[in-house]
Symmetry: C2
């Protein structure tokens, strides 16, 4: 395998330019067979977003439609990917089909839409922004291991050949429910994770998701980490895993246990669909 | 018109018993033709909820199926109504059809489900818990004016005879999208309001709702108050009304202007469907 060119754009919120420069330097040492191609759009700022919708969309398209780029890596989550997903899908060209796409959190909107459209391969996994975490380069390097060489040590440990998977941030997934962004999850093990939501909001979002998916033939649900839960004025009365178990029971969805994913440095890679041979 | 008996239960979170006693006293003075019947379940506490799902469900049913009760008033929002809505619908008896139902916030789950099922009449309006607000008895009395005598001075001022309406807290509505709780809103003016959500989360929820409703024939959207918006690390870049206007433009949904609803003492009553003659 020659040099792997990884195009990085920001469908949601921006990075700092110094972060990109630092990551290019670190990657040249850790993954000399990888070339990081940061689109300038990663550093654009427009209110909450890394540039206006049109700019975020065109940056994604310019990388995804470039035959010299092998993979598209989402710089960071936040919010914004859903707003450009349909415009992106309309303008993707054949070169976009040969690529792998990776990100998580808000990026799940694009992973789901691309998976549904059958464009490229998608993985829920670390992003460049994870370098900000303490020990975060472990996550970034794991992401690179997957993007560069499909290194299976990067995988979430429950991922097995032949089984279909999908992974999402729960709130992101709940906001895809009822829209064309949500792919068909029949036969899939669904892994979910959450950050910075009250447990009542976690329950509310999972109620929405499981009610919608109840009759859609899920193979089961695995629960990743639910972190930075704010304290409410009254304890909710259940832990996150009890919430998942109860809702799985309610809708006869198999609850399969934990998933090694989350908004943290231990976040493992979950390819969408079945593992490539 | 004789005495109007208003049954109060808590499908979501609890009240304090002293609040009920105080409200009974105040109502006997302001609305001598009303009798408030607080179900004991209003004061039950089970973690986040006013009692377990079974208790909240059975309390609702005992009041709704009681022919001597004229109206059901939801004590308070929070979270929990969605979890009992389908069990309630399964067991409502003919007496439930002759009643009016009122609440807002999380109570929207039940308003929507009852409206969809054609059971009784539903109104988005003040709840007993509004007495906690400064000047909150103005809201509570407005709610009573509607429940007791269908007093049209209680109505949201844009409500006109012959036009269909529905009103929801936006996050509550987003979590109904893609589930059987969501009624058909074709031909309706939809009024929304929000509290304590970041503007990016407001945009995200409205993106979900408008994407889902884009082809469902809405007559238009009106925006109520968006209050207690937390400060984010970066300004979002648009105000709430600009968000609504942009998403209405995106999906060719008429944006009709403001609505006089919100999590506040000025919250007006929005009956679901068309006004009764």
């Amino acid at each position: 395998m020659g040099q792997v060119r990884i195009g990085i754009c920001a469908p949601s919120t921006p990075l700092y330019r110094e972060e990109a420069e630092q990551l290019i330097t670190l990657t040249s040492q850790s993954h000399p067979d990888a070339e990081l191609v940061f689109h300038d759009q990663c550093f654009a700022i427009e209110g909450h977003f890394a540039g206006k919708d049109d700019l975020r969309c065109s940056a994604f398209l310019s990388l995804a439609n470039d035959p010299s780029i092998d993979a598209i890596w989402f710089a960071r989550g936040g919010y914004g990917a859903a707003r450009i997903a349909d415009a992106i899908l309309e303008k993707l060209e054949p070169a976009a089909h040969d690529k792998s796409y990776m990100g998580y959190s808000d990026g799940g909107n694009l992973l789901g839409a691309l998976y549904k459209a059958g464009i490229g391969t998608q993985a829920h996994g670390p992003m460049p922004v994870d370098m900000r975490r303490e020990g975060g380069m472990a996550a970034v390097n794991r992401g690179l291991d997957w993007l560069v060489s499909k290194d299976r040590t990067a995988l979430e440990p429950h991922v097995e050949p032949g089984q279909k998977y999908a992974a999402f941030n729960l709130m992101t997934l709940a906001m895809m429910v009822g829209t064309p962004l949500l792919p068909d999850l029949e036969g899939h093990v669904l892994m979910i994770e959450e950050i910075a939501e009250y447990l009542y909001a976690f329950d509310r979002a999972l109620f929405n998701v499981t009610t919608h998916l109840a009759d859609k033939g899920l193979a089961g649900i695995r629960l990743g980490r639910v972190s930075e839960v704010p304290e409410n004025n009254r304890p909710f009365g259940e832990e996150a895993e009890e919430i998942v178990q109860r809702l799985c029971d309610r809708y006869a969805i198999p609850y399969l246990g934990s998933a090694d994913i989350g908004h943290d440095v231990d976040n493992k890679v979950v390819p969408f669909g079945t593992l490539p041979d």
